[in-house]
């Protein structure tokens, strides 16, 4: 997002940003970004979502300074196991006498790692498959879309389960499995966008100038698909987090002693009735972060893709 000046600044930067006759491409872009930001901030829930996501990033970045205890090494097993929330241990301790608050803080790194990696892997794949299939059409389109449909035919968690079962449990394999199950919807969206772009005049003009097919796809089709894809990926991030947490809960994601939130809930399951906080606290963290991404995604959709909003 563009740097936003404080609101009560009537002229100067704001006027420059909102100018109807921008002097440079940069000014026009910044101006558009500013307008988008203004309509985004009108939606308080979207701002809340953004705040949660920023908080997640900050917490992950500064976990070393925020967490009061080690996430891996516990305290005294005789006296500090399964303590309820208190002033020393804000969210209580788990069965290994580890501070749950510190583990949740460090766990944000794993969550962020999964979300970023999955979107880095899955988005380009979906984008490429979708644009190529939409632009070329014909049998390429048929084959690629059939493959996409097959992957769409599996429920996400179940397919991810099968892949993790094959690759072996672990956080990297969980990321790969989730990425494999994530790209098909992106390919669908990119294809739909491409079909609309394909026959427009500017593509014909580029073609007449002699641009090659890869150049048209990469240089002219892909950039136009990005904004609707960003919305979809952001809305999807909550789903990615939930799937990763589900895999962790089943013991197939991050392995102990990593402080993965889903795995932490699984541990807490054994102490559910008497020490409820062990399971409850990490679940709240998952919920809040997914909520943040959902709110942010809704807000972005309203700004970037108004026709999709209902």
């Amino acid at each position: 997002m563009a740097g936003a000046p404080p609101f009560p600044q009537p002229s100067g930067l704001q006027a420059w940003l909102l100018s109807a006759e921008p002097n440079s491409r940069w000014q026009a872009r910044l101006g558009r970004g500013y307008l988008g930001w203004r309509s985004f901030t009108k939606n308080p829930l979207a701002v809340l979502g953004l705040a949660i996501v920023i908080l997640l990033v900050l917490v992950a970045a500064f976990a070393d300074f925020i967490a009061p205890y080690s996430p891996i090494v516990g305290g005294d097993l005789r006296t500090e196991r399964l303590l309820p929330p208190s002033e020393t241990y804000w969210l209580g301790t788990d069965d290994q006498a580890r501070d749950i608050f510190s583990r949740i803080i460090y766990g944000s790194r794993i969550t962020l790692f999964v979300v970023i990696l999955v979107s880095i892997i899955a988005t380009p794949v979906g984008l490429l498959v979708g644009t190529v299939s939409g632009y070329l059409g014909g049998w390429v389109d048929t084959v690629l879309m059939r493959i996409t449909d097959i992957f769409l035919a599996f429920p996400r968690l179940v397919l991810a389960l099968a892949f993790v079962a094959a690759l072996g449990p672990g956080i990297e394999n969980a990321v790969i499995a989730i990425a494999i199950t994530s790209w098909p919807p992106y390919a669908r969206i990119a294809r739909a966008e491409t079909l609309m772009i394909r026959n427009s005049d500017f593509i014909a003009a580029v073609k007449l100038q002699g641009a090659s097919t890869p150049r048209i796809i990469m240089g002219h089709v892909v950039p136009l698909c990005v904004s609707s894809l960003i919305v979809r990926v952001t809305l999807d991030m909550a789903g990615i987090i939930l799937t990763a947490a589900g895999l962790g809960f089943l013991g197939l994601g991050a392995q102990p002693p990593m402080p993965e939130w889903g795995a932490m809930v699984a541990t807490g399951r054994n102490y559910l009735i008497d020490q409820w906080w062990v399971a409850a606290m990490p679940g709240i963290a998952i919920f809040v972060v997914s909520l943040g991404f959902n709110l942010l995604g809704d807000g972005l959709r309203d700004v970037l893709d108004p026709k999709a909003a209902k």
Binding site: L159, L250, F287
Partner: protein
Amino acid sequence: MTSSTAIGSGGHDALRFYLTKTVQFIAVLATTLFGLVAVTFFIGRVVPIDPVIAIVGDRASPQVYERVRQELGLDLPLLQQFWIYLKKAATGDFGNSVLTTNPVMTDIANVFPATLELATLGTLIGVVFGIPLGILAAVKRGSLIDQFVRLLGLVGYSVPIFWLGLMGLLLFYAKLDWVAGPGRLDVTYSYLYTPVTNIVLLDTAMQGQWDAFWDALWHIILPASLLGYFSLAYISRMTRSFMLNELAQEYVIAARVKGLSEMRVIWRHALRNAAVPLVTVIALSYANLLEGSVLTETVFAWPGLGQYITNSLQNADMNAVLGGTLVIGATFVVLNLVSDLLYRLLDPRTR
């Protein structure tokens, strides 16, 4: 979807339309199922767990190892292996489960009714509560109930289902004692009836074992409500958006101008048109619950397909995992296609 339109006139066109649609339907079903089998075969081949060792153990002599390897057909070329796998898959043979030693399909047939029972009750709850809530939200747009439906949807998309299940157990079972704990039936009742359909609620009711019936209901109510909540969140959101769409149409204005009561306009006119896309939504939500059941069954120790898959996973029982994955995938595909077909059948405009 490829769109093919039947242009022209005459009585044969409708028939031809349905014929081409049916052929297309079968073609899509066949290629997708083929793809599902190919994907599971591929997963089974990249597996680092040696399937031979899983059967003979790591202390077997090389001769035994080699014999079992040949029996499993692992010495054949990959394409030939795939062909054999495909032929077996077509007859429903996915090998034996290492864990239970039964054929995987027998196991799945045993556990599937439990999942079906749970998912059906969940969808029922979603439909019964979700549709009226969605209609109310659409009619009273912007009101408190509209906000409430929005909140339900938002929470439904954000909350981890396994965590909500655990919290439900903590609150309603451990603290309040309103419902029974994990499992499907108390041990005391489990021999009082003979499993016929393997759907406990149905079996006990048909055999007049009302005590067992109530106990089964006592057990299923929490996991079914949990799944029902996710179904409700989805169905109410979609109902709301379909109804808003219909209420903005001109025929609604015409009905109001005619002087029809608001109740009649909403329930007889608008809802009837919104019902067509709703059918597909309900089918999709039912398919989604199959996925949700994997985690829910683990939390509630519910002896269904989801628990079967996760149990097999933990014991590196790949035949069972792949068979279960394939069954869920196939059910998913069929439900999706059926919903698509229903949509076309119910809505003449799509023809």
